[in-house]
Structures are given as structure tokens and as C-alpha cells.
């Protein structure tokens, strides 16, 4: 597997730190908008995910792609995680991964 460009765990507040970089996050699908999708991050931020059209509503998907702005991601890969997901724990993970334990991930 290609490990050359690691994707960083982000949530709403940390996305802005990685604009232009490859990120991954889990969002809940709120609305499908043509070729794009509106999703809610694990800390209630609303994002636009480009390139993702067919995700089932209200389910959680993990999106890996390049962060375009602090509110949108251009998706390259996405995976459906289903309807049940522990958003709280994931959020904690993002916070830890970008804060205290950054060294472990990057």
C-alpha cells in the first residue's frame, strides 16, 4: 500500500490547519447536492464534500481526500461506515491526533 502521502485525521476545527493537504475524516451525510455532498463533521461543522454523490443519507462515511478550504474536501476515496457510529470518540481521536499525540501520527 502506498504510504507516501499519509492522510491526517481531521475534524471540523482542525481542517483549517491542513488546507491543501491530504486529510481523512468521518462525516454524516446530510444532503446530496448534484455532484457534491453536504456532510456534518463529528464536531458539528458543516462541510462540502466534492466528488461524492451517491452516499446514503444520514449514514456515516469516511472521506479521504485533499482539503480545499476549511469547509470543503475534495474526495478521492470514501467508505460507508453505516448508520451507527460513535462520533464522540472519533472526535476525541481527532483532537488527540492533532494535539498531544501528533508525533504518533505524522
Amino acid at each position: 500500500m502506498d504510504t507516501s502521502s499519509p492522510a491526517i485525521f481531521v475534524n471540523g476545527e482542525s481542517l483549517q490547519m491542513y488546507v491543501g493537504k491530504k486529510v481523512r475524516s468521518v462525516v454524516q451525510v446530510i444532503k446530496s447536492d448534484g455532484g457534491d455532498m453536504i456532510g456534518k463533521s463529528t464536531d458539528e461543522h458543516q462541510w462540502t464534500i466534492k466528488g461524492l454523490s451517491s452516499a446514503p443519507l444520514m449514514s456515516y462515511v469516511e472521506v479521504i481526500g485533499v482539503a480545499e478550504s476549511n469547509q470543503s474536501i475534495c474526495a478521492e476515496l470514501w467508505t460507508d461506515f453505516g448508520k451507527t457510529f460513535d462520533a464522540y470518540s472519533y472526535n476525541q481521536l481527532c483532537q488527540l491526533a492533532n494535539g498531544e499525540f501528533k508525533a504518533l501520527f505524522l
Binding site: 500500500m1 470518540s89 481521536l93 488527540l96
Partner: protein, 797 residues
């Protein structure tokens, strides 16, 4: 109610033959209505009634075509009706009106007029249907607005004992005094009933019963104008407990009420009492339970009653009767119960202080009592102090009250029969200077338990009153809840208030002596431990086995001898399960049962290694947990390997299990093998990991760890997960491909894993640095935690 006018003199007219149905359609009041039991079951019910025209009474029978009026409840005692079609005939020397058609004008009405039986020529007393006089005869009378005016004519002719001279005069005067005489002039004439009708609902009825009759009677009886048949009126009082019969509340359905309910205190009930009625409040309503015993299936429902004298008794009904009464009975309400059977109490189900129990049948009567006068307390306790509990025998049922000084969170406990239940333990302190461990089981954990926990957590000191807790001698003396227990938090009883005062003044600071020994972790298997802790803490080495929970991954399974041939015969209520040996002739023989059989069971005896981030160990899993882990029965697996020789499928199954994670509940015990002591762990239960809760647990731990980080390193390592295992092992294990994940995810996680793979080397190189800067435990811990979280979250269910 509007005053209804009855057709005066109608009765006389009808009975004298002066009027016929065609001409006279009188308006009459039904003073009594009762069902006559016919000998032949094929015949439909007949209803006999007594009609009144305001001054005279007359017996009547209802034509079967209008039975439905009674059954639907339209026609009731005290209804006012207009006769449309009827005839008058003589039956057995008596005039009876047969009613073929009538209109119910008013379903319920106060009794009108002063009544006298129109029939002077009385035959034997039995003719009066309201007389439950002599037990000898009568089908039960409804006797409701038991006017009994005329009825009382021959109360007890048979009981000739006491011509109570006062009687007559009393009758003509106030009825209340009647009651008095009735009661006190008591002759003990066993068989007869109290002519309670008289007393019914009379105001100012004698002190003892006054309250009862007042309350229960809505209808006031008009004073019957007694024909002065000399010396014929007497009441035989049976015993001191005779009470005037309360008038049945108007709302009564046409129930088979036996006229005179002699209200008596529960404490006076005895099996030799013929007819009795108690008025009591339901202090505890049980569930409608289904049971299955060697005699068959059934349903049972029971409830506890408390009366105003403080007497308590348990009432039980089975099957159809249970259905009948289950919905009628409401906790906290007052009922009149009569015609139940009294039997000795079964002490193992009944914890009330009464040697008797009531069993209701379909003929029993349960009547709600609407005038709830709060004379009857809601609940009655017999509190014992905790120091008394110390001296009590095991399995005693007591009521206790105390201050909750501590409470544990709910833990899952495995019961002897294999089921799981919740348990909380709290410490109760009271004025005796003692404290006891009190266990909440099952649903009490969630409801009251949670409430108490919240109160304790927020710094409060809740008081708890317990009714029917059972004393056990587990770890000294302890008390626990049973299915019939009731808990009251911060109750408002005098004892509670006293306790509170004591607590405010001194109790808060006085240390109390516990009569329960401190619980070791026996049974508290829920605290997750790491595998290294098993070794470090020398679990299992004490005389009792230790139960621990670990989250670990299956690393290696010993594929040979994963099962054994077991004896399928039942020994007692469990299969024998001892190893059987092959006879050589296709049969298997069991040593213990001393029998041989053709077919044997195959049971798992799976030995495998499990590993977590700290250490690795061998464990053994038997049948149930083996199946849980392997996902296939031992028999099938065995046939797959040996009979079908299908090694490929076998390996595939085994491979699938490898590296899967479980929550293992282990029983750890040190055993002696030849000369050496070895600590063996047995898997009692293997469950799937709940990633969400585990994540939260780990996050919590990280929090705690972080907050404790400022303290010296050494102390940190003492917190829940002290690390003694090598880091490399911990992290290596995380580098596995995650079997159960979907294909997409495998890629991602594999990626992360490999990322981590580089870490051990880093750690290795900078090992020294790290060990000085950070406690290595924290690094490996957080590494694993952070690795675990994304994977876990992905698999969250």
C-alpha cells in the same frame, strides 16, 4: 338522585290478583337481586329479585329472556323498573311474580320508602333470599341494598338461644344501637350470619364498625318498619367481629355478594372462620407470573394487604382467578375481600408476619372501597437496627432503614444458573453504629440504584428504607433485595426523621463498624485488567479463584485435541460431561456413570493463547465459550477434521478465529500439577468487543493518566494498566490485518498499522531518551490506544 315515585300499593294489588299485566304497569324498585343456581347446568341462570313499591316487598323471578339486563349491568339492586309483562303465580306456597318484560328506568337509586315484606306467611326462613342466615341453605344472595326490611323477619329462627329482649325495641328505634346489641349481645352461634343488613350503612353505627360501615356504605338504609313478629328478630352474633354489613356501593356490579361481610381485622382471621371480609389496602402488588413445575404450567398473582390495625396478609390467586383479579387490583388502593380460602402461609414465598395466607377463588369477592379514609396506612414497616441484623439467621427477611454512605456502580454478575444480572452494593449506616452491605439486584440497580448513585455523587446523603430485604451470610452479614422488596428513598417516616436527626448531630462523623466483610473482587469481574496484571498481582493464588475481564486477541490456537469425547448422560440436572473412553467396539463407556453408549458428545477443550498490549498467556475454553469463539460446534469441527479429513476447511476456520479480539471473562486459579504450582486461566465467557464503550473507557483512562501525570512516574504506573510487557510486543500485535473489516477498510487500517510498525524501532533507538522523558508505559499505552481507536470506531456497532 331524583326522587322516583313508585307505584304505591302495586304489590298488594298484584299479589291479591287484583291487577294484571295488561292493566297495571307499576314502577317498582328492585331491592334485591340474586342469582339462583340451578341444579342442571344446562338451564340458564335464573335471577330472583325482591321488588318494592315503597311500602311492601315482593319476591319475583326474572324471565330468562331478560336475564341479559342483569348480566349487562343495567338491572341492579336498587334499580327502579317498570314492569311491562308479568304474571303472578304461586310456587311452593309462595306468591312469586314472574317478570317477562320490564324497563329499567333508573339503574341506581336510593331506597325509597319503608318496606315490609308483603308476605306474612313466611315459610321457613330459607325462603328469604337475603338471608344468608343459615349456611344450610341459600344460594348466595346479592343482598345489596339489602333492605332486608322484611327480610330480617326470620333471621335465625334456628338459633333460638338468646332471645335478646333488647332486640325488638332496638329494631324499632335507631339502628345504630342495633349494632351495639348485635355485637355485644353476642351469642356464639356458630353457623349463622350476622344480619348485617340491618346495620348496613347506618349513620352512627357503633364505634367499632362505624368507620367501616360509613365508608363502605353509600346507601343508607331506610329504617325498615319491622313488623313486630315477637321475638323473631335476632341477630346471632358470631363473635366479637361482627360488623354491620356495609351497604354495597352503588357501583357494584351484580356481584355475587354474600350479604353480610363482617369486616374483621386481618389479625383475627383464622381458618375456622366461615365467612369473613377484610378491608385493607394493597401495599404491594406482584406481577402476573407464569410458572412451570412438575405439575404443569400456571399463572400466579399475589398481593399484600395491610389493614387499619396493622395486620398484614398475603393474597394469592392462580390461573384463571389470577387473570380475573390482576387487573382489578391496584397498588395503594383499599379493597374489601371476602370469600377467600385461608391456608397456612408458605414462608419461603411469604415474608409477612402472618401465619396465614389468603387464596382467592373464582367465587371470591374483591370490591374496591372508594371512601379511602386514610385510616389504613400505606405501608407498614418493622424496622430493625443494623446491629440486630448481625444476629439474624441467614435468609431472614427484614425491614431496615439507614443512611447510604457509599454505592458502587452497577456491575454484571453471573448467577449460578448461568444468567447474568446487575448488582450494586451500598453501605447502610444507622444509629446502632453499625453498617451493613446492602445489595441491589436486577431492576433495583437501574431504577433506585441509579437515583441513589446520583444523589451520592452530588454529595448528598440519601436515606433508604427497605421493606423485605433478605439477610445473607455472605462476607459476614449482608442484606440484599429480593423480588418482593420495596425501596423507599428519603422516606418520610418517623424512623427516617429520627435517623436524619441522629445523622446530623453525630452520625456523620461517627465511624461505623461494618458487619459485612470487605468484598474482595470475587464476583466483580467487570474491572478490565491486563494480562500482565494476572501475573503481577498474583491472581488466583489465594484460596479462591479470581475472576477477571481482559480484552485480548487470540494469537494461537492449539489445533490438536481441541475437543474430547464426553458422556452425554444426565447426572442430576446437568449432563455428566466426563470423558468417555472408546471400548473398541464402537461404543463409549463412562466411568462415572458406569454405562456405555453408542453416541458420545463432543465438547470443546480449546487451548489457545491470548495477547493484549501487555502480555500473552495460555487459556482454556470449554464447550460454551469454545463455541462462541470458534463459531462452530465441537461436533461439527471434529467431524470436519477427522471424519471428512477436510483439512482445508478446518484451517480456514481456525485462521478466521486467529487474531480476532474478544472480551474474555477468565477464572484464574492456581493449581498443582505433580509438584508444581501453575496458574491456569479458564475462559468462562467470550464476548464480542463493544468498541464504542471500550473507546470511551480508554479515553477516560487517558484523562486520568494525564491528570496524574504531574505526579512522579512511579505512581503513574500503578494506575490501572501498569506496563510490564515489552513495548514491541504490544505494538507488533497491532500490526495485524484486521480480518473482520471490509475490504476498503482493511487497506486503511493496514496502512495505519504499518505506520506504527516503524515506531518500535524508533522507540528502540531512542529508548533511553523516552524512558527518561516519558514513562514508557504511557507511550505504549497511548500508542496502542490511539491505534485502537480508529479501528474500533470503524467497527463500532
Amino acid at each position: 338522585m331524583a326522587k322516583m315515585n313508585l307505584t304505591e300499593g302495586a304489590i298488594a294489588k298484584i299479589t291479591s290478583g287484583g291487577a294484571k299485566a295488561a292493566e297495571l304497569k307499576p314502577t317498582l324498585q328492585v331491592t334485591e337481586l340474586k342469582q339462583v343456581h340451578t341444579k342442571q347446568p344446562q338451564q340458564s341462570d335464573r335471577f330472583r329479585l325482591v321488588l318494592s313499591d315503597g311500602s311492601h316487598l315482593q319476591q319475583a323471578m326474572l324471565g330468562t329472556q331478560i336475564n341479559h339486563l342483569v348480566k349487562d349491568g343495567n338491572l341492579r339492586p336498587c334499580s327502579v323498573v317498570q314492569l311491562i309483562q308479568y304474571t303472578c303465580t304461586t310456587v311452593q306456597g309462595r306468591m312469586i311474580i314472574i317478570i317477562l318484560e320490564l324497563i329499567v328506568i333508573v339503574e341506581e337509586c336510593a331506597l325509597i320508602g319503608h318496606l315490609v315484606s308483603a308476605q306474612k306467611s313466611l315459610g321457613p326462613p330459607q325462603s328469604f333470599t337475603n338471608q344468608p342466615v343459615n349456611n344450610s341453605s341459600n344460594p348466595q344472595s346479592f343482598g345489596s341494598c339489602s333492605l332486608s326490611g322484611g327480610a330480617v323477619e326470620n333471621p335465625n329462627l334456628t338459633v333460638a338461644s338468646l332471645p335478646n329482649p333488647r332486640m325488638n325495641q332496638l329494631h324499632s328505634s335507631s339502628h345504630s344501637s342495633n349494632n351495639d346489641s348485635v355485637r355485644h349481645g353476642a351469642t356464639n352461634v356458630p353457623p349463622s350470619h350476622l344480619k348485617a343488613e340491618y346495620g348496613a350503612g347506618l349513620p352512627g353505627a357503633a364505634p367499632m364498625n362505624g368507620s367501616y360501615s360509613d365508608q363502605c356504605a353509600i346507601f343508607r338504609n331506610h329504617r325498615p318498619e319491622i313488623s313486630q313478629a315477637p321475638g323473631t328478630y335476632f341477630y346471632s352474633s358470631r363473635s366479637v367481629y361482627q360488623q354491620p354489613s356495609p351497604m354495597y356501593p352503588n357501583t357494584g356490579q351484580v356481584a355475587k355478594n354474600d350479604a353480610p361481610p363482617k369486616l374483621m381485622p386481618i389479625s383475627a382471621l383464622n381458618p375456622y372462620q366461615g365467612r369473613w371480609t377484610i378491608k385493607a389496602r394493597v401495599t404491594a402488588k406482584g406481577e402476573l407470573r407464569h410458572y412451570n413445575n412438575p405439575r404443569g404450567d400456571g399463572k400466579v398473582f399475589s398481593f399484600d394487604l395491610l389493614d387499619s390495625d396493622g395486620g398484614e396478609i398475603k393474597v394469592t390467586c392462580f390461573n384463571a382467578v389470577a387473570d380475573q383479579f390482576y387487573h382489578q387490583i391496584e397498588g395503594g388502593k383499599v379493597y374489601l375481600i371476602s370469600r377467600g380460602n385461608l391456608k397456612p402461609a408458605q414462608k419461603n414465598f411469604n415474608h409477612l408476619r402472618n401465619d396465614l395466607e389468603v387464596f382467592l377463588e373464582s367465587t371470591s369477592i374483591v370490591q374496591p372501597c372508594f371512601e379511602d379514609d386514610n385510616v389504613i396506612p400505606r405501608q407498614q414497616f418493622n424496622f430493625r437496627s443494623i446491629s440486630e441484623v448481625e444476629g439474624m439467621d441467614n435468609n431472614n427477611v427484614v425491614d431496615i432503614i439507614g443512611m447510604v454512605s457509599s454505592i458502587t456502580p452497577a456491575a454484571s454478575i453471573m448467577r449460578k444458573n448461568g444468567t447474568e444480572t446487575q448488582k450494586r452494593i451500598l453501605q447502610l449506616k444507622d444509629m446502632s453504629g453499625r453498617s451493613v452491605e446492602f445489595a441491589l439486584w436486577g431492576s433495583f440497580c437501574n431504577a433506585e440504584g441509579q437515583r441513589l448513585q446520583n444523589m451520592c455523587d452530588s454529595g448528598g446523603f440519601p436515606f433508604l428504607a427497605v421493606k423485605s430485604g433478605r439477610v445473607s451470610d455472605f462476607n459476614g452479614k449482608a442484606v440484599g433485595t429480593i423480588s418482593t422488596s420495596q425501596l423507599f428513598i428519603d422516606p418520610d417516616f418517623p424512623e427516617a426523621r429520627r435517623l436524619k436527626e441522629w445523622f446530623e448531630k453525630e452520625g456523620r462523623n461517627v465511624p461505623s463498624l461494618s458487619i459485612s466483610r470487605e468484598m474482595s473482587s470475587v464476583g466483580r469481574a467487570d474491572v478490565p485488567k491486563t494480562i500482565s496484571q494476572i501475573k503481577d498481582e498474583r491472581l488466583g493464588t489465594s484460596e479462591k479463584p479470581d475472576w477477571v475481564t481482559v480484552n485480548a486477541t487470540v494469537i494461537f490456537i492449539k489445533a490438536d485435541n481441541f475437543c474430547y469425547t464426553a458422556c452425554p448422560l444426565m447426572s442430576g440436572d446437568r449432563p455428566c460431561n466426563k470423558k468417555v473412553t472408546n471400548n473398541g467396539d464402537g461404543k463409549w463407556s463412562c466411568e462415572k456413570c458406569d454405562q456405555s453408549m453408542d453416541e458420545c458428545d463432543y465438547r470443546y477443550i480449546l487451548q489457545f493463547q491470548i495477547q493484549d498490549h501487555t502480555s500473552i498467556t495460555w487459556v482454556t475454553a470449554f464447550q460454551e465459550s469454545g463455541e462462541e469463539i470458534m463459531g462452530i460446534s465441537a461436533k461439527d469441527l471434529n467431524s470436519l477434521k477427522y471424519e471428512k479429513q477436510d483439512n482445508e476447511s478446518f484451517s480456514k476456520i481456525v485462521r478466521q478465529v486467529l487474531f480476532s479480539k474478544f472480551v474474555f471473562k477468565l477464572k484464574v486459579k492456581e493449581e498443582t500439577f505433580s509438584d508444581e504450582q501453575r496458574v491456569k486461566s479458564t475462559v468462562v465467557r467470550a464476548g464480542k468487543v463493544n468498541y464504542s464503550s471500550q473507546s470511551k473507557f480508554l479515553l477516560d483512562m487517558m484523562e486520568k493518566f494525564k491528570s496524574g501525570n504531574s505526579a512522579p512516574v512511579a505512581s503513574n504506573t500503578e494506575s490501572t494498566y501498569p506496563n510490564s510487557g515489552a513495548n514491541s510486543i504490544g505494538i507488533e500485535s497491532s500490526g495485524r490485518p484486521c480480518g473482520p473489516l471490509g475490504s476498503n477498510q482493511v487497506g486503511n487500517n493496514g496502512y495505519i498499522a504499518r505506520k506504527f510498525g516503524s515506531l518500535p524501532s524508533e522507540v528502540g533507538q531512542h529508548g533511553n531518551q523516552y524512558s527518561t522523558k516519558f514513562p514508557t508505559s504511557s507511550l505504549s499505552l497511548t500508542a496502542v490506544v490511539l491505534l485502537a481507536i480508529p479501528q474500533q470506531i470503524a467497527l463500532v456497532s
